[in-house]
Subunit: 132 residues, 2 copies
DNA sequence: GGTAGTCTTTCCAGTAACTGGAAGGTCAAG
DNA sequence: CTTGACCTTCCAGTTACTGGAAAGACTACC
């Protein structure tokens, strides 16, 4: 499959996919005509990258996660410790998203959508949901 | 409160805080000595920025969210529509994080942490949890 | 009052992660 | 055999920081 197709399936722009190859995240085959040729496995990796980048993980973190994902020869203890530290981060991100969600939901349900610009929640956002 | 303190409380580096001021996200007072002087409200905004950036929202999106957060004179209908579209995005992000979480949890529970480098999950990651 | 150490300021340069555009080769349809 | 959509590389620009220099300000101790 060539890059446009892989782009559609992964949700990443072709530019970005080539960039990821440049920095060594991915090495697709090449067809005889010089076109990149993506396998389903490549596409899964790309989709994985698309998601984790969108969730605020850095490219380097993604590289680690991708290593878990693809490198079966790696020692399991190693895999396990990386995965566990990322799990904590994910847990935290979920909590933060829930807090943000709560805030915005209040906003949507308590504000009227009419001409009344008085949203009582806006003043209280700051103090609530203090964690970390 | 000056910038080091605001940095500690928000979790953002001082450099980043100054940068956010440069691009107009924040306008702290200035003390007589020229030092920036942050109010609690400023700190809440910074903390808010720290979180939403970490969750994969762009600075421009954060600017919008910050506008909801701070601009009480805005028409409620406007606030509501922005908040609602962001809510959908948050919902999606939570789902994606849960999927990632599931994958990594499988990894942690099924891999042994010993010398056995055979993680059966790694092969099946790709196919599962297809959404969007 | 001096001075060491830790702030803070601005400015300018560098990095990370893309993103756009030019110049040109490839391919499938008509 | 040309037209249009795709692909290639390369190079420049953008976004969102990040590091470091040079200089002013504050705290504390002698």
């Amino acid at each position: 499959m060539n890059i446009g197709n892989a782009s559609d399936k992964s949700g990443l722009p072709a530019k970005t996919i080539r960039y990821y190859e440049d920095i060594g995240l991915l090495k697709p085959d090449r067809a005889d005509n010089g076109y990149r040729d993506y396998s389903m496995s490549d596409v899964h990796k790309l989709r994985f990258l698309q998601r984790s980048r969108g969730l605020g993980f850095s490219v380097e973190e993604c590289r680690q996660l991708l290593a878990l994902y693809g490198d079966k020869s790696r020692a399991s203890a190693d895999v396990k410790s990386i995965a566990q530290s990322k799990l904590q981060e994910i847990e935290r991100k979920i909590i933060e998203l829930r807090e943000l969600q709560l805030t915005l939901k209040h906003l949507v349900t308590h504000c009227h959508g009419d001409q009344r610009p008085d949203c009582p929640i806006l003043e209280s956002i700051s103090g609530t949901a203090g964690s970390s």
